[in-house]
Structures are given as structure tokens and as C-alpha cells.
Symmetry: C2
Subunit: 405 residues, 2 copies
């Protein structure tokens, strides 16, 4: 075998998702793309806001006129100083602490940023604690750098189980990884929960001498529907790091632009910042794409219109209500996490999410089994598709439920 064992194993286990993706393509070919209700992908379909196009065009015109020199070259690994300053201001507003440019490390999307963080903080065998369900790639991001992902079940309402987390902390716990607004549940962790979590981590640090980092994956921070928005994170706990991107808030996932915001006064601050810069370099990112750095620095007040997602969410809820499929109320992000409904005349045991997804597929509805997030018995639907697709799917959902027996 010419490829690494870990990669070979991963290929086998991820083949289910690949198969699903291929089946979706097959369905589109057979029945026509407009006949298939594809809610499987979290790929924002809303175009970037007009301000993005304007800045993009201005930079292209400057380039063509020879007014900008060296802008596509290397800069310092953590990013252009002016961009770091601009993002520090934005992060300071959101996070309730005063960051300087030095606390911002530009990243190749949030996925790149998380890898940089884990490379920097994980020793071999270190543990990262996360709340289940969770985005399954976290397992790989941790394992890439010698770490092990440990899972704690969330509460029934998908809020953090603080007692569960407290019980799983040990001297190997390097970090607690949270994601809010949450994929796949749409949960936003309340400020009180974050404060209680911080107290637990603080107490654990005092007892053991090791203060776990609180790492927040926050690409959905601005896609939020509840009053007050997503609560600040950095202000609640000294040892905290926020990782985010413009993939959702500006609909730029393919451009790979995001950043790491480090709490000022974090433990071993200088080493940690230098470590993040070193990891950015040595993992081969070198720096976040130069052009997108410059563009997002001018768009710190911009975001896609969240009301569009809110309308889709409402439309989808109506569809699910009519079909009789229970779901978790989404407070942010663009997913509906649904419980597999009991079969007609069936028992009350946890529904088989694989079977339900297969059944929906026969009605040309595509979703992702909760098992793909460590949560069997549930199914995720992404509503980054046109509202009319959601409304049109209503009939298919109803029919699917009639034959779910």
C-alpha cells in the first residue's frame, strides 16, 4: 500500500458520504436538477453583498492601471498589518475585549485556522473536548496534530452539558472546542452558559495547573436570529481563542479567508502568537490569500442579508410542521436538525436516520443522517437553497411521511 494507513482508513469510512453525494448527482441526472430537493450541502447560495463586488472591482481597476504594486506578493505570515488592525477592531466590538492587530492571525478559512490552533497547542495524546453532535471533521483536525477528540453529549435542547464537560476534564485536556451558532443544530450558547463553562475551566486550571483553552469555531457568528445575537466569547474566559471565516457572513467559502482572534492576556501570550504564526507557515498555508485579506478588511461592517435565511427557516419549519417532523428550533446558522419521526405503528425507539434519509431520497429529498454528526436518530437539512425549492418540497415531504411505515 502506497498511501498512509490513516488516510486509507479515512477513505473507507467517508465513502458513505461520497456515495450519498454521487447518488444525489445520479438523481439529478435522471429526474432533472429542478426536481431534486437537495438540502444536503452547507454551501451558501446567497451572493456576496454588493459592497464586496465594489471593492473587488476597485482593486482590479487599480491593478490594471498599475496603481497597486506588490499587492499579490508575500507579506508577514499572519497577514497584512493594516488588515490585522481592521479585523482587531471588528473582533473587539464582537468579543467585548480590546484586541490589537497582533492578536489577529489571518487564516485560510476557519478550517485552516482550527488546524493552525491545534498544531500550536496540542502535544501528542492531548485531548480536545467537544459537544455532540458536532461537525465530524473536528476529529481529523485534532488527529492531524496528534490530539484525540473526546465527545460529551449535549443536553436535550442541544445546549452544553456543563456537568458532562466538567466530568470529562483531565490533565490531558488541552482545549474545549465549541461551535456557536451550531452546525448541525442551529443552537446559540447563551452568555450564562459560556460564563458557567468559563468557571468550570478556571476551577480545573486552579486545581491541576493546566487551564484548557476555550476554542470557538464561529463562522456562523453573524448568521443569527435571536435578540442580542451571538454572545461574546473572549470576554468570558482568559484562555480563549475565536476562529472564524467569511465563508458564511460574506458567502465566500471558496475563497478561503478567515482569521484567528486571540484573547489579549492569554496564557503564554507571546509564545502562543508566535506559535500560531509558525504553524501558519509550516503547515504550508504561509498566509491567507492576499487579495481576499485586503477585500475583507474593507467590509468589516458588511454581511449577507440574514433575513433571507430567516424567511427560509420559517418556510422550512412550516413544511416540517405540516409533514409532522419534529425539529430543534434554530437560533442561528442555516440548518434544521430534525428528529426521525416514529414509523406509523412503529415503536418509540430511536429512529434509523440512515433508513429515513434513504426513504426521503425516494421522494427526491436529500439530507444528511445525524450519524454523520455523531447523533443517530436525527437528520440535517441545510436551507441555503432558494425559498421556492423549500416550499415546493412541502408536497414531497408530506408524501414521504405518508409512506414512512
Amino acid at each position: 500500500m502506497a498511501i498512509a494507513k490513516g488516510v486509507k482508513d479515512a477513505l473507507s469510512s467517508s465513502s458513505m458520504i461520497r456515495k450519498m453525494f454521487e447518488e444525489g448527482n445520479l438523481l439529478r441526472k435522471r429526474y432533472g436538477a429542478d426536481k431534486v430537493f437537495d438540502f444536503s450541502l452547507g454551501n451558501p447560495d446567497i451572493e456576496p453583498p454588493p459592497a464586496f463586488h465594489q471593492v473587488f472591482l476597485r482593486f482590479a481597476q487599480d491593478d490594471a492601471a498599475g496603481r497597486s504594486k506588490g499587492v499579490h506578493g508575500y507579506m508577514s505570515n499572519p497577514g497584512f498589518p493594516a488588515v490585522r488592525e481592521a479585523l482587531a477592531k471588528k473582533a473587539s466590538r464582537e468579543q467585548g475585549v480590546m484586541l490589537e492587530g497582533s492578536h489577529i492571525i489571518l487564516a485560510v478559512g476557519a478550517a485552516g485556522g482550527l488546524n493552525v490552533v491545534f498544531k500550536t497547542i496540542l502535544n501528542s495524546g492531548d485531548e480536545v473536548l467537544t459537544s455532540r453532535p458536532y461537525f465530524m471533521e473536528y476529529k481529523g483536525y485534532t488527529a492531524n496534530h496528534g490530539g484525540v477528540l473526546r465527545e460529551v453529549d449535549s443536553l436535550p435542547d442541544f445546549n452544553l452539558d456543563l456537568d458532562g464537560i466538567r466530568n470529562r476534564l483531565n490533565e490531558k485536556t488541552a482545549a474545549v472546542l465549541i461551535n456557536s451558532p451550531h452546525n448541525p443544530t442551529g443552537r446559540v450558547y447563551p452568555a450564562a452558559t459560556l460564563h458557567a463553562l468559563a468557571e468550570i475551566l478556571e476551577a480545573h486550571g486552579k486545581k491541576t495547573g493546566r487551564w484548557p483553552f476555550l476554542v470557538a469555531d464561529e463562522p456562523y457568528r453573524e448568521i443569527v436570529y435571536i435578540p442580542g445575537g451571538t454572545p461574546p466569547l473572549l470576554s468570558v474566559y482568559r484562555n480563549s481563542i475565536s476562529v472564524t471565516s467569511y465563508s458564511k457572513s460574506l458567502s465566500l467559502p471558496g475563497e478561503r479567508i478567515g482569521y484567528i482572534a486571540v484573547n489579549p492576556g492569554i496564557q503564554d501570550e507571546e509564545d502562543l502568537l508566535n506559535g500560531l504564526i509558525y504553524a501558519t507557515r509550516i503547515l504550508g498555508y504561509i498566509n491567507a490569500p492576499a487579495l481576499m485579506q485586503r477585500i475583507v478588511a474593507e467590509l468589516t461592517e458588511e454581511s449577507v442579508d440574514v433575513r433571507v435565511y430567516a424567511r427560509r427557516r420559517d418556510a422550512f419549519k412550516e413544511v416540517l410542521d405540516k409533514a409532522g417532523i419534529p425539529y430543534a428550533e434554530p437560533q442561528g446558522a442555516f440548518y434544521l436538525f430534525c428528529q426521525v419521526p416514529p414509523k406509523k405503528g412503529g415503536s418509540n425507539t430511536v429512529g434509523d436516520d440512515g433508513a429515513f434519509v434513504d426513504h426521503l431520497k425516494q421522494h427526491l429529498i436529500l439530507g444528511v443522517p445525524g450519524s454523520g454528526f455523531g447523533k443517530p436518530g436525527w437528520v440535517r437539512f441545510a436551507y441555503c437553497v432558494d425559498e421556492t425549492v423549500i416550499r415546493t418540497a412541502g408536497e414531497a415531504f408530506k408524501k414521504a411521511m405518508e409512506t414512512w411505515a
Copy 2:
């Protein structure tokens, strides 16, 4: 200690280079940027070719006019299918084999591509063999994925020492990593050398059952001065992979765009290609930046004007000749690798590159010690600076040599 031990160690050992960089900034502040002859950085200063600006502007205009939809979104991890097709054609021309789009994986620069390759092929403890001197980051790229870099000294003319390589091959050798045109020596490996290397790897495979991959880091492929250019690589050995970028050929290093070209018919082809795609995803790159993918696909016939680098090389050679500093004749890339000249009345032992670099610094000339490439006694000067800077430095070089005693 809150950061990983490996990262902490790396920070200490790389502090010399950081210190040098900071000292350069200090010199610029004290004496004025125009007074400092900075040949330390391999950051191309030539602007991207006009065709780049034109395509960039056209895409920005299309965006602003609403003519392009979804172009900043996710695509398949290995890149847009049309981009992969276009690059396959280009790579086929250069490499002397017929590649299809499926053999191209878009990468976040060559550094990103190398990390993806090593993640895919290295098991813990596997060895990667490279020729010394070499770009020191290779050590980290290998170690990131559990591998160990093994070094073989090059021949006195910096060509590969084939006997040395043959002797270091063993059952743990996963890959031989070459870089041509070469940083820091400017060497281009001749076709005959590559064929002889292929025979050695083939023979080793037949004997042991493990055929090492031949991985070529080729970002300088198009920056070449010798007749016939850089010889093709993929055509010489079945198990070969080329990793390249547009950092030098289009002067886009900050935009992080490159690709991996896999030899059709490579061992375990399907697993390997799927592994590279998986590694692209799980290392957090997800995909190469979308906009730059689309741009470079339209520029497969373009490159910066290599004659500009050739003129600088000639100017720099004249400066060194006059100062009496011996160097390796560069056949490609944009570096002059110079031997530390013997001190006046000094012995014939290997010169102290650190001391020589310090001495040059007093004359406001910045270079990188060969020790930074595993080759003490040598110094690297990068000539990606204006020709007038090189010519003006002549006087400083002469004065520095007069006092090198």
C-alpha cells in the same frame, strides 16, 4: 507551558532567522530603506504579467454586473473541473505524459501541495530523502505528518549524488524529494540525472517491493536560463508527483495558488488521488482559493519575463566577480549561492557563513547564511530586487571584501 513542545522548540531554533529579519528592519529604519541592499528574501518583485490584470479585471466586472453566480462558493475539494482540465493540458506539455483533469489537485501554493502529498503518503517513521543544501521548511513539512527528513549531500556542482541516494534508500523510504530549479543553488537537474535516479528507484522497488515516490517541488520550473529549459519529470518514473505554484511564474506568492500533478498510472492511482483530495480537505485547506483558480486557468501560456531575472543574474555575477566572491552558476530560479571567501591571510577551512553575513550586514548587505539550508560555508543572495540595487551594491561588496580579514 501552554503550547506544543515541538512548536516551542521550533520557535527557539528559528529565532535566528527572525532576529536577522528584525535586524534588517532596524537597518532600514536607521539608514533608510534605499541604503540597505536586501538580498535576503525570495519574494518576487516583478509584477504579474498584463494578461493577469486583464483576466482579473474581467472577472471583477462580471461579478459587479451580476454575470457570475456562485463563483466564490465551494467547489469539489480538488478544484473546479474546468480548471483541472486546463492545468492538465499545461502539465502534459511540460511533463511529457498525458494527464487528465483527474490527475490535477489544486493546492494552496506549493507549500500547501507538499503538505497534502506528505499527509497522504507518510506513515509514522517513514523517511523522505532530499539533497543538501535544501529549503529548510521541508523538515517541518515532513515532520507535520509523522515523517523524518533524511539528507544526502549533493555533488560539488550541486547535482544529485546518485550513489549517495542509492545508499540511503531503505524499506522506510516513502519518497525522494527533489527541487529543480533549485533553491538555494539555482541548479537544474539534467534529464540524464533524472533518468538515472528513476533507475535507482525502480531497482530499489523491485528488490524491496516498495517503490519510493519521486516528489518534485517545481515552483521555479519556468524561471530557467539554460537551453531546453527544465526537463520533464513525470515521464521518467512511474511513481512521480510534481508540486508547483504560480508564486514565481506569475509572481503571485501571496495569493497561494498552485497544484499537484500526479503521474497517470502511478501505483494505487485511485487511492492516491482520493487520498490527496481527502488530505486537502482534512488539513483545512478545503480547496485552493476559487478566484485564483479561475484566473490561472486562463493564463496557462503566460509567465513573467524571465529575461529580467537573467539580466539581474548577470549584473549580480559581475558584482561578485569584481569583489572576488565565488558562486555556483545559476541555471534557474533567482538565487546566487556563494562560497564564503577565505579571509585575507586566513586558512583554507570552510568559511564561517554566520560571521560573513554579519560582516556584510555592516556594509548594509543582507543575505542568508548557507547554514539555513544545511550548507555552512555558503551564503544565499536572492536577486528578486531591482537591477539598480544590485549594481549599486557593487561598491559595498568591494568594500566589505577589503575588510574581510
